[in-house]
Protein backbone atom coordinates (compact mmCIF):
# COMPACT_ATOMS: atom_id res chain seq x y z
CA UNK A 1 0.00 0.00 0.00
CA UNK A 2 1.10 3.58 -0.52
CA UNK A 3 2.01 5.79 2.41
CA UNK A 4 1.70 9.41 1.44
CA UNK A 5 2.62 12.31 3.72
CA UNK A 6 0.19 12.99 6.54
CA UNK A 7 -0.90 9.37 6.92
CA UNK A 8 1.31 9.13 10.02
CA UNK A 9 1.23 12.51 11.75
CA UNK A 10 4.57 13.62 13.22
CA UNK A 11 3.10 14.76 16.53
CA UNK A 12 1.92 11.24 17.48
CA UNK A 13 3.70 8.24 19.03
CA UNK A 14 3.19 4.75 17.64
CA UNK A 15 3.21 1.12 18.84
CA UNK A 16 4.23 -2.07 17.08
CA UNK A 17 0.61 -3.18 17.36
CA UNK A 18 -0.45 -0.14 15.29
CA UNK A 19 -1.96 2.12 17.93
CA UNK A 20 -1.19 5.83 18.12
CA UNK A 21 -0.89 8.02 21.20
CA UNK A 22 -1.28 11.80 21.41
CA UNK A 23 -0.01 13.35 24.65
CA UNK A 24 -1.40 16.55 26.15
CA UNK A 25 0.08 17.07 29.60
CA UNK A 26 -0.89 14.08 31.70
CA UNK A 27 -3.60 12.90 29.32
CA UNK A 28 -3.07 10.57 26.37
CA UNK A 29 -5.52 10.01 23.51
CA UNK A 30 -5.34 6.58 21.88
CA UNK A 31 -6.48 5.30 18.48
CA UNK A 32 -5.46 2.88 15.76
CA UNK A 33 -3.32 3.95 12.83
CA UNK A 34 -4.23 4.46 9.21
CA UNK A 35 -2.35 1.24 8.44
CA UNK A 36 -4.35 -0.71 11.03
CA UNK A 37 -7.75 0.50 9.81
CA UNK A 38 -6.75 -0.12 6.21
CA UNK A 39 -5.58 -3.67 6.94
CA UNK A 40 -8.76 -4.44 8.88
CA UNK A 41 -11.19 -2.99 6.37
CA UNK A 42 -14.72 -1.88 7.29
CA UNK A 43 -14.86 -1.62 11.07
CA UNK A 44 -18.20 -2.76 12.49
CA UNK A 45 -17.65 -3.11 16.22
CA UNK A 46 -15.40 -1.73 18.95
CA UNK A 47 -15.16 -3.15 22.45
CA UNK A 48 -13.17 -1.34 25.15
CA UNK A 49 -13.57 -1.10 28.93
CA UNK A 50 -15.57 1.76 30.41
CA UNK A 51 -14.14 4.93 31.95
CA UNK A 52 -12.45 4.23 35.26
CA UNK A 53 -10.86 0.94 34.19
CA UNK A 54 -7.08 0.61 34.40
CA UNK A 55 -4.96 -0.29 31.39
CA UNK A 56 -1.38 -1.59 31.40
CA UNK A 57 1.15 -0.48 28.80
CA UNK A 58 1.76 -3.19 26.21
CA UNK A 59 -1.22 -5.29 27.28
CA UNK A 60 -4.39 -6.06 25.36
CA UNK A 61 -7.40 -4.14 26.59
CA UNK A 62 -10.05 -4.38 23.88
CA UNK A 63 -10.93 -5.34 20.33
CA UNK A 64 -11.72 -3.71 17.03
CA UNK A 65 -13.68 -5.86 14.60
CA UNK A 66 -14.11 -5.52 10.88
CA UNK A 67 -16.53 -7.51 8.75
CA UNK A 68 -13.90 -10.20 8.32
CA UNK A 69 -11.59 -10.06 11.33
CA UNK A 70 -11.17 -9.46 15.05
CA UNK A 71 -8.13 -7.43 16.08
CA UNK A 72 -6.95 -6.90 19.64
CA UNK A 73 -5.97 -3.43 20.77
CA UNK A 74 -3.01 -2.90 23.07
CA UNK A 75 -2.49 -0.04 25.49
CA UNK A 76 0.44 2.15 24.38
CA UNK A 77 0.96 3.23 28.00
CA UNK A 78 -0.38 2.49 31.47
CA UNK A 79 -3.06 4.53 33.19
CA UNK A 80 -6.73 4.93 33.88
CA UNK A 81 -9.37 5.28 31.18
CA UNK A 82 -10.93 8.74 31.46
CA UNK A 83 -13.26 8.67 28.49
CA UNK A 84 -14.31 6.35 25.69
CA UNK A 85 -15.25 7.88 22.33
CA UNK A 86 -19.06 7.85 22.56
CA UNK A 87 -19.53 8.10 18.77
CA UNK A 88 -18.04 4.68 18.05
CA UNK A 89 -20.90 2.58 19.44
CA UNK A 90 -23.25 3.77 16.72
CA UNK A 91 -20.64 4.62 14.08
CA UNK A 92 -17.56 2.42 14.37
CA UNK A 93 -16.79 3.15 10.71
CA UNK A 94 -15.64 6.58 11.88
CA UNK A 95 -12.31 4.89 12.58
CA UNK A 96 -11.92 4.06 8.87
CA UNK A 97 -12.84 7.57 7.84
CA UNK A 98 -10.80 9.56 10.35
CA UNK A 99 -8.48 7.34 12.40
CA UNK A 100 -6.57 10.25 14.03
CA UNK A 101 -9.51 12.63 14.48
CA UNK A 102 -13.14 11.66 15.08
CA UNK A 103 -12.13 7.99 15.18
CA UNK A 104 -10.12 8.21 18.43
CA UNK A 105 -10.78 5.34 20.83
CA UNK A 106 -10.21 6.61 24.34
CA UNK A 107 -8.42 9.01 26.64
CA UNK A 108 -6.09 7.79 29.38
CA UNK A 109 -4.69 9.52 32.48
CA UNK A 110 -1.02 8.61 32.13
CA UNK A 111 0.44 6.72 35.10
CA UNK A 112 4.01 6.36 33.84
CA UNK A 113 4.94 9.22 31.48
CA UNK A 114 8.35 7.61 30.96
CA UNK A 115 6.67 4.79 29.00
CA UNK A 116 6.18 7.24 26.14
CA UNK A 117 9.91 7.18 25.42
CA UNK A 118 9.66 3.53 24.39
CA UNK A 119 7.13 4.28 21.61
CA UNK A 120 8.05 4.94 17.98
CA UNK A 121 8.16 8.30 16.24
CA UNK A 122 6.26 8.74 12.97
CA UNK A 123 9.47 8.17 10.98
CA UNK A 124 10.28 5.02 12.94
CA UNK A 125 6.73 3.71 12.54
CA UNK A 126 6.74 4.34 8.78
CA UNK A 127 9.93 2.34 8.51
CA UNK A 128 8.48 -0.38 10.75
CA UNK A 129 5.38 -0.96 8.61
CA UNK A 130 7.40 -0.89 5.40
CA UNK A 131 9.50 -3.72 6.85
CA UNK A 132 6.41 -5.53 8.09
CA UNK A 133 4.80 -5.32 4.65
CA UNK A 134 7.86 -6.93 3.01
Amino acid sequence: MSQGDGIYPDDLKYTKEHEWLAVHGSIGTVGITHYAQSELGDIVYVEVPAAGAPVVGGEEFGTVESVKAVSEIFAPVSGEILEVNPALAAHPETINRDPYGDGWLLKIRLAEPKEIDALMSAAEYRKYIEEEAN
Binding site: G41, D42, V44, Y45, E47, T63, V67, K68, V70
Partner: protein, 368 residues
Protein backbone atom coordinates in the same frame (compact mmCIF):
# COMPACT_ATOMS: atom_id res chain seq x y z
CA UNK B 1 -9.19 -30.56 4.39
CA UNK B 2 -6.31 -28.08 4.78
CA UNK B 3 -5.21 -26.35 1.59
CA UNK B 4 -2.31 -28.07 -0.14
CA UNK B 5 1.10 -26.59 0.50
CA UNK B 6 3.00 -25.03 -2.37
CA UNK B 7 2.24 -22.13 -4.69
CA UNK B 8 -1.28 -20.76 -4.73
CA UNK B 9 -3.49 -21.55 -7.70
CA UNK B 10 -4.64 -18.53 -9.64
CA UNK B 11 -7.53 -17.69 -11.95
CA UNK B 12 -7.09 -16.03 -15.38
CA UNK B 13 -7.80 -12.68 -13.73
CA UNK B 14 -5.06 -12.53 -11.11
CA UNK B 15 -2.86 -10.09 -13.03
CA UNK B 16 -5.78 -7.81 -13.68
CA UNK B 17 -6.66 -7.90 -9.97
CA UNK B 18 -3.12 -6.97 -8.96
CA UNK B 19 -3.29 -4.00 -11.35
CA UNK B 20 -6.65 -3.00 -9.89
CA UNK B 21 -5.14 -2.95 -6.38
CA UNK B 22 -7.39 -5.70 -5.03
CA UNK B 23 -6.46 -7.27 -1.72
CA UNK B 24 -5.59 -10.87 -2.56
CA UNK B 25 -5.69 -13.67 0.00
CA UNK B 26 -5.18 -17.43 0.20
CA UNK B 27 -8.63 -19.00 -0.05
CA UNK B 28 -8.52 -22.82 0.02
CA UNK B 29 -5.22 -22.76 -1.85
CA UNK B 30 -6.35 -20.12 -4.38
CA UNK B 31 -5.09 -16.56 -4.61
CA UNK B 32 -8.32 -14.59 -4.78
CA UNK B 33 -9.51 -11.02 -4.09
CA UNK B 34 -11.14 -10.63 -0.68
CA UNK B 35 -12.00 -7.01 -1.40
CA UNK B 36 -11.41 -4.25 -3.94
CA UNK B 37 -12.48 -1.17 -1.98
CA UNK B 38 -14.60 -2.11 1.01
CA UNK B 39 -16.63 -5.22 1.82
CA UNK B 40 -19.60 -3.11 2.89
CA UNK B 41 -19.55 -0.90 -0.23
CA UNK B 42 -19.29 -3.96 -2.47
CA UNK B 43 -22.10 -5.71 -0.61
CA UNK B 44 -24.39 -2.69 -0.90
CA UNK B 45 -23.54 -2.29 -4.60
CA UNK B 46 -24.85 -5.82 -5.23
CA UNK B 47 -28.06 -5.13 -3.28
CA UNK B 48 -28.64 -1.74 -4.91
CA UNK B 49 -27.14 -2.04 -8.41
CA UNK B 50 -24.73 -4.84 -9.38
CA UNK B 51 -21.47 -6.53 -8.50
CA UNK B 52 -19.03 -8.65 -10.50
CA UNK B 53 -17.27 -11.65 -8.92
CA UNK B 54 -14.57 -13.91 -10.30
CA UNK B 55 -15.46 -17.41 -9.09
CA UNK B 56 -13.25 -19.32 -11.50
CA UNK B 57 -11.87 -21.34 -8.59
CA UNK B 58 -15.14 -23.31 -8.48
CA UNK B 59 -14.80 -26.84 -9.82
CA UNK B 60 -16.60 -28.23 -12.89
CA UNK B 61 -17.25 -31.93 -13.38
CA UNK B 62 -18.74 -33.12 -16.66
CA UNK B 63 -20.82 -36.31 -16.79
CA UNK B 64 -21.93 -37.70 -20.12
CA UNK B 65 -23.17 -40.90 -21.67
CA UNK B 66 -26.34 -42.99 -21.71
CA UNK B 67 -25.94 -43.74 -17.99
CA UNK B 68 -25.25 -40.09 -17.06
CA UNK B 69 -28.66 -39.41 -15.51
CA UNK B 70 -28.51 -42.68 -13.59
CA UNK B 71 -25.16 -41.65 -12.08
CA UNK B 72 -26.33 -38.14 -11.18
CA UNK B 73 -29.45 -39.65 -9.56
CA UNK B 74 -27.29 -42.10 -7.61
CA UNK B 75 -24.89 -39.54 -6.10
CA UNK B 76 -27.29 -36.63 -5.41
CA UNK B 77 -30.38 -36.31 -3.20
CA UNK B 78 -32.47 -34.00 -5.40
CA UNK B 79 -34.33 -35.36 -8.44
CA UNK B 80 -32.30 -34.58 -11.57
CA UNK B 81 -34.88 -36.33 -13.78
CA UNK B 82 -37.05 -33.25 -13.28
CA UNK B 83 -34.50 -31.20 -15.22
CA UNK B 84 -34.93 -30.67 -18.92
CA UNK B 85 -32.00 -29.49 -21.03
CA UNK B 86 -31.31 -25.86 -20.11
CA UNK B 87 -32.32 -26.30 -16.47
CA UNK B 88 -30.23 -26.22 -13.31
CA UNK B 89 -30.76 -27.54 -9.79
CA UNK B 90 -29.23 -27.02 -6.35
CA UNK B 91 -28.47 -30.36 -4.74
CA UNK B 92 -26.14 -32.26 -2.44
CA UNK B 93 -23.66 -35.05 -3.04
CA UNK B 94 -24.63 -37.23 -0.09
CA UNK B 95 -22.77 -39.83 1.93
CA UNK B 96 -24.37 -43.12 3.01
CA UNK B 97 -25.42 -41.39 6.24
CA UNK B 98 -27.09 -38.48 4.45
CA UNK B 99 -24.32 -35.99 5.22
CA UNK B 100 -22.50 -33.73 2.77
CA UNK B 101 -19.75 -34.76 0.42
CA UNK B 102 -20.47 -31.33 -1.09
CA UNK B 103 -23.27 -28.99 -2.07
CA UNK B 104 -23.39 -28.41 -5.81
CA UNK B 105 -25.29 -27.12 -8.83
CA UNK B 106 -26.32 -29.61 -11.52
CA UNK B 107 -26.80 -28.29 -15.05
CA UNK B 108 -28.51 -30.52 -17.59
CA UNK B 109 -26.97 -29.55 -20.93
CA UNK B 110 -28.55 -32.37 -22.93
CA UNK B 111 -30.41 -35.64 -22.53
CA UNK B 112 -27.16 -37.41 -21.62
CA UNK B 113 -24.94 -34.51 -20.61
CA UNK B 114 -24.59 -32.88 -17.19
CA UNK B 115 -22.27 -30.25 -15.74
CA UNK B 116 -21.75 -30.28 -11.97
CA UNK B 117 -20.39 -27.13 -10.34
CA UNK B 118 -18.71 -27.92 -7.05
CA UNK B 119 -16.82 -26.12 -4.28
CA UNK B 120 -13.19 -25.42 -5.16
CA UNK B 121 -11.74 -27.12 -2.10
CA UNK B 122 -13.81 -30.26 -2.78
CA UNK B 123 -13.19 -30.63 -6.50
CA UNK B 124 -10.71 -33.52 -6.34
CA UNK B 125 -12.67 -35.31 -3.61
CA UNK B 126 -15.98 -34.93 -5.47
CA UNK B 127 -14.49 -36.10 -8.76
CA UNK B 128 -13.00 -39.23 -7.16
CA UNK B 129 -16.28 -39.89 -5.32
CA UNK B 130 -18.51 -39.55 -8.38
CA UNK B 131 -16.12 -41.52 -10.60
CA UNK B 132 -16.13 -44.35 -8.04
CA UNK B 133 -19.91 -44.76 -8.54
CA UNK B 134 -19.82 -44.66 -12.37
CA UNK B 135 -21.35 -47.78 -13.95
CA UNK B 136 -22.08 -48.56 -17.58
CA UNK B 137 -21.95 -46.05 -20.43
CA UNK B 138 -20.87 -42.93 -18.60
CA UNK B 139 -17.82 -40.70 -18.64
CA UNK B 140 -16.85 -38.47 -15.69
CA UNK B 141 -14.36 -35.68 -16.40
CA UNK B 142 -12.81 -33.15 -14.06
CA UNK B 143 -13.06 -30.19 -16.43
CA UNK B 144 -12.26 -27.49 -13.86
CA UNK B 145 -9.25 -26.18 -15.78
CA UNK B 146 -11.38 -25.66 -18.91
CA UNK B 147 -13.97 -23.40 -17.27
CA UNK B 148 -13.71 -19.92 -15.82
CA UNK B 149 -16.74 -18.50 -14.02
CA UNK B 150 -17.89 -14.93 -13.49
CA UNK B 151 -20.90 -14.04 -11.36
CA UNK B 152 -22.80 -10.85 -12.23
CA UNK B 153 -25.26 -10.21 -9.42
CA UNK B 154 -27.74 -7.50 -8.50
CA UNK B 155 -30.90 -5.81 -9.74
CA UNK B 156 -29.02 -4.20 -12.68
CA UNK B 157 -27.40 -7.47 -13.79
CA UNK B 158 -29.93 -8.18 -16.54
CA UNK B 159 -29.57 -4.70 -18.04
CA UNK B 160 -25.78 -4.87 -17.96
CA UNK B 161 -25.46 -8.34 -19.46
CA UNK B 162 -28.10 -7.82 -22.12
CA UNK B 163 -25.81 -5.48 -24.06
CA UNK B 164 -23.17 -8.21 -24.47
CA UNK B 165 -25.59 -10.90 -25.63
CA UNK B 166 -27.54 -11.74 -28.76
CA UNK B 167 -30.81 -13.15 -27.46
CA UNK B 168 -33.23 -11.76 -24.87
CA UNK B 169 -32.30 -12.34 -21.24
CA UNK B 170 -35.46 -11.09 -19.55
CA UNK B 171 -37.29 -14.30 -20.34
CA UNK B 172 -34.60 -16.53 -18.81
CA UNK B 173 -36.13 -17.77 -15.57
CA UNK B 174 -34.27 -18.56 -12.33
CA UNK B 175 -32.35 -21.84 -12.50
CA UNK B 176 -32.49 -21.83 -16.32
CA UNK B 177 -29.49 -21.34 -18.56
CA UNK B 178 -28.58 -20.53 -22.15
CA UNK B 179 -25.61 -21.71 -24.16
CA UNK B 180 -24.89 -18.68 -26.25
CA UNK B 181 -22.25 -16.18 -27.32
CA UNK B 182 -21.37 -13.59 -24.71
CA UNK B 183 -18.96 -10.87 -25.80
CA UNK B 184 -18.15 -13.06 -28.81
CA UNK B 185 -17.38 -16.28 -26.88
CA UNK B 186 -19.63 -19.31 -26.53
CA UNK B 187 -20.60 -19.46 -22.84
CA UNK B 188 -23.14 -20.84 -20.43
CA UNK B 189 -25.32 -18.07 -19.00
CA UNK B 190 -27.22 -19.24 -15.95
CA UNK B 191 -29.76 -17.30 -13.92
CA UNK B 192 -28.35 -18.39 -10.58
CA UNK B 193 -26.19 -16.94 -7.85
CA UNK B 194 -25.00 -16.91 -4.29
CA UNK B 195 -26.07 -13.47 -3.12
CA UNK B 196 -29.85 -13.46 -2.71
CA UNK B 197 -30.21 -11.09 -5.66
CA UNK B 198 -31.23 -11.57 -9.26
CA UNK B 199 -28.21 -12.27 -11.42
CA UNK B 200 -26.20 -14.58 -13.60
CA UNK B 201 -23.35 -17.01 -13.44
CA UNK B 202 -21.39 -17.15 -16.68
CA UNK B 203 -19.18 -20.13 -17.51
CA UNK B 204 -16.65 -19.62 -20.28
CA UNK B 205 -13.19 -20.69 -21.47
CA UNK B 206 -10.45 -19.28 -19.20
CA UNK B 207 -8.71 -17.46 -22.07
CA UNK B 208 -11.85 -15.34 -22.62
CA UNK B 209 -12.43 -14.48 -18.96
CA UNK B 210 -10.33 -11.31 -18.65
CA UNK B 211 -11.96 -9.79 -21.76
CA UNK B 212 -15.45 -10.49 -20.50
CA UNK B 213 -14.62 -9.25 -17.01
CA UNK B 214 -13.42 -5.93 -18.41
CA UNK B 215 -16.31 -5.68 -20.86
CA UNK B 216 -18.78 -6.17 -18.02
CA UNK B 217 -17.04 -3.57 -15.86
CA UNK B 218 -17.24 -1.09 -18.74
CA UNK B 219 -20.87 -1.89 -19.54
CA UNK B 220 -21.83 -1.86 -15.86
CA UNK B 221 -19.97 1.25 -14.73
CA UNK B 222 -22.81 3.63 -15.64
CA UNK B 223 -25.23 1.37 -13.76
CA UNK B 224 -23.22 1.32 -10.55
CA UNK B 225 -21.52 -2.06 -11.07
CA UNK B 226 -18.58 -2.67 -8.74
CA UNK B 227 -15.92 -5.38 -8.78
CA UNK B 228 -16.51 -7.50 -5.69
CA UNK B 229 -14.40 -9.85 -3.61
CA UNK B 230 -14.96 -12.90 -1.46
CA UNK B 231 -15.66 -10.76 1.61
CA UNK B 232 -18.87 -9.38 0.10
CA UNK B 233 -19.72 -12.79 -1.37
CA UNK B 234 -19.72 -14.19 2.16
CA UNK B 235 -21.87 -11.45 3.76
CA UNK B 236 -24.33 -11.53 0.84
CA UNK B 237 -24.79 -15.30 0.94
CA UNK B 238 -25.18 -15.34 4.72
CA UNK B 239 -27.90 -12.65 4.71
CA UNK B 240 -29.73 -14.83 2.18
CA UNK B 241 -29.11 -17.94 4.34
CA UNK B 242 -27.16 -19.68 1.64
CA UNK B 243 -24.84 -22.24 3.17
CA UNK B 244 -21.06 -22.47 2.99
CA UNK B 245 -19.48 -25.90 2.78
CA UNK B 246 -16.83 -26.34 5.47
CA UNK B 247 -18.55 -23.82 7.76
CA UNK B 248 -22.27 -24.59 7.88
CA UNK B 249 -22.31 -28.07 6.35
CA UNK B 250 -19.80 -30.87 5.93
CA UNK B 251 -19.43 -34.64 6.20
CA UNK B 252 -20.77 -34.55 9.79
CA UNK B 253 -24.03 -32.68 9.05
CA UNK B 254 -27.04 -34.12 7.25
CA UNK B 255 -29.09 -32.39 4.58
CA UNK B 256 -32.15 -32.52 6.87
CA UNK B 257 -30.25 -31.02 9.79
CA UNK B 258 -29.32 -28.16 7.44
CA UNK B 259 -33.05 -27.60 6.88
CA UNK B 260 -33.00 -28.42 3.17
CA UNK B 261 -35.85 -30.95 3.30
CA UNK B 262 -37.13 -29.68 -0.06
CA UNK B 263 -34.14 -31.04 -1.97
CA UNK B 264 -34.29 -34.53 -0.41
CA UNK B 265 -36.36 -36.62 -2.82
CA UNK B 266 -36.37 -40.31 -1.92
CA UNK B 267 -39.45 -40.77 -4.16
CA UNK B 268 -37.09 -40.65 -7.16
CA UNK B 269 -35.66 -44.03 -6.15
CA UNK B 270 -32.65 -45.13 -4.12
CA UNK B 271 -29.61 -42.87 -3.96
CA UNK B 272 -26.56 -42.82 -1.72
CA UNK B 273 -27.87 -41.95 1.73
CA UNK B 274 -31.56 -42.33 0.87
CA UNK B 275 -32.26 -45.02 3.48
CA UNK B 276 -30.60 -43.01 6.18
CA UNK B 277 -32.37 -39.79 5.19
CA UNK B 278 -35.75 -41.56 5.07
CA UNK B 279 -35.26 -42.84 8.62
CA UNK B 280 -34.09 -39.43 9.77
CA UNK B 281 -37.10 -37.77 8.17
CA UNK B 282 -39.47 -40.16 9.99
CA UNK B 283 -38.06 -39.60 13.44
CA UNK B 284 -37.07 -35.96 12.79
CA UNK B 285 -33.49 -34.68 12.78
CA UNK B 286 -31.82 -34.45 16.18
CA UNK B 287 -30.68 -30.91 15.48
CA UNK B 288 -31.47 -28.10 13.08
CA UNK B 289 -29.45 -25.30 11.54
CA UNK B 290 -31.16 -22.05 12.47
CA UNK B 291 -30.52 -18.36 11.94
CA UNK B 292 -30.09 -15.99 14.86
CA UNK B 293 -29.56 -12.34 15.70
CA UNK B 294 -27.51 -10.95 18.55
CA UNK B 295 -29.44 -9.15 21.27
CA UNK B 296 -26.34 -8.13 23.23
CA UNK B 297 -23.58 -6.24 21.41
CA UNK B 298 -20.92 -8.27 19.64
CA UNK B 299 -20.19 -10.09 16.41
CA UNK B 300 -20.73 -13.87 16.32
CA UNK B 301 -18.10 -15.73 14.33
CA UNK B 302 -17.46 -19.26 13.07
CA UNK B 303 -16.50 -21.52 15.97
CA UNK B 304 -17.77 -19.41 18.88
CA UNK B 305 -19.41 -21.82 21.38
CA UNK B 306 -23.13 -21.54 22.11
CA UNK B 307 -25.13 -22.55 25.17
CA UNK B 308 -28.85 -23.27 25.04
CA UNK B 309 -30.69 -23.46 28.37
CA UNK B 310 -27.33 -23.36 30.10
CA UNK B 311 -26.01 -26.41 28.23
CA UNK B 312 -23.10 -26.42 25.80
CA UNK B 313 -24.63 -26.97 22.39
CA UNK B 314 -22.14 -26.70 19.57
CA UNK B 315 -20.91 -23.57 17.93
CA UNK B 316 -21.67 -20.75 15.52
CA UNK B 317 -21.17 -22.04 11.97
CA UNK B 318 -21.26 -18.63 10.23
CA UNK B 319 -21.57 -15.15 11.63
CA UNK B 320 -21.08 -11.55 10.62
CA UNK B 321 -22.55 -8.08 10.73
CA UNK B 322 -25.04 -8.05 7.85
CA UNK B 323 -24.34 -4.84 5.93
CA UNK B 324 -27.90 -4.63 4.56
CA UNK B 325 -29.41 -5.39 7.97
CA UNK B 326 -26.97 -3.49 10.18
CA UNK B 327 -27.36 -6.35 12.66
CA UNK B 328 -25.11 -9.12 13.92
CA UNK B 329 -26.41 -12.39 12.49
CA UNK B 330 -25.34 -15.99 12.36
CA UNK B 331 -26.19 -19.65 11.89
CA UNK B 332 -25.81 -22.51 14.36
CA UNK B 333 -27.15 -25.99 15.00
CA UNK B 334 -29.68 -26.32 17.83
CA UNK B 335 -31.20 -29.39 19.48
CA UNK B 336 -34.56 -30.05 17.76
CA UNK B 337 -36.58 -29.08 20.86
CA UNK B 338 -34.94 -25.63 20.98
CA UNK B 339 -34.76 -25.03 17.21
CA UNK B 340 -37.58 -22.50 17.03
CA UNK B 341 -37.70 -18.77 16.35
CA UNK B 342 -37.85 -16.95 19.67
CA UNK B 343 -35.47 -19.27 21.52
CA UNK B 344 -32.91 -17.24 23.45
CA UNK B 345 -29.42 -18.58 24.00
CA UNK B 346 -25.85 -17.45 24.67
CA UNK B 347 -22.97 -17.03 22.25
CA UNK B 348 -19.61 -17.09 23.97
CA UNK B 349 -17.71 -14.17 22.47
CA UNK B 350 -14.08 -14.51 23.58
CA UNK B 351 -15.00 -15.54 27.11
CA UNK B 352 -18.13 -13.44 27.56
CA UNK B 353 -21.68 -14.85 27.20
CA UNK B 354 -23.73 -12.62 24.88
CA UNK B 355 -27.48 -13.05 24.47
CA UNK B 356 -28.90 -13.99 21.05
CA UNK B 357 -32.27 -15.09 19.67
CA UNK B 358 -33.29 -17.52 16.93
CA UNK B 359 -35.12 -15.70 14.11
CA UNK B 360 -36.86 -16.80 10.90
CA UNK B 361 -34.65 -16.89 7.81
CA UNK B 362 -33.61 -15.75 5.27
CA UNK B 363 -32.39 -12.67 7.12
CA UNK B 364 -32.67 -10.73 3.89
CA UNK B 365 -35.21 -11.19 1.11
CA UNK B 366 -34.92 -9.09 -2.01
CA UNK B 367 -37.79 -6.68 -2.71
CA UNK B 368 -40.01 -7.69 -5.62
Amino acid sequence: MPPAAGPLKTTPLVRLFRDMGARLVDFAGWELPVQFSSVIEEHLAVRGAAGLFDVSHMGEIEIRGRAALELVQKVTCNDASRLGPGQAQYTVLTTESGTYVDDILVYRRGENEFLLVVNASNTDKDFAWIASWARGDVEVVNASARWAQLALQGPKAVTILQGLLGGPLDSLRPFRFLETEVNGTRSIVSRTGYTGEDGFEIYLPPQAAADLYQALLRAGGPHGLRPCGLGARDTLRLEARMLLYGNDVDETTTVLEAGLDGIVRPAKGPFIGSDSLKREKERGPARRLMGFEMIDPGVPRHGYPIRVGGEASGAVTSGTVGPSLKKSIGLAYFPARAALPGTRFAVNIRGRDALAIIVPTPFYRRPH
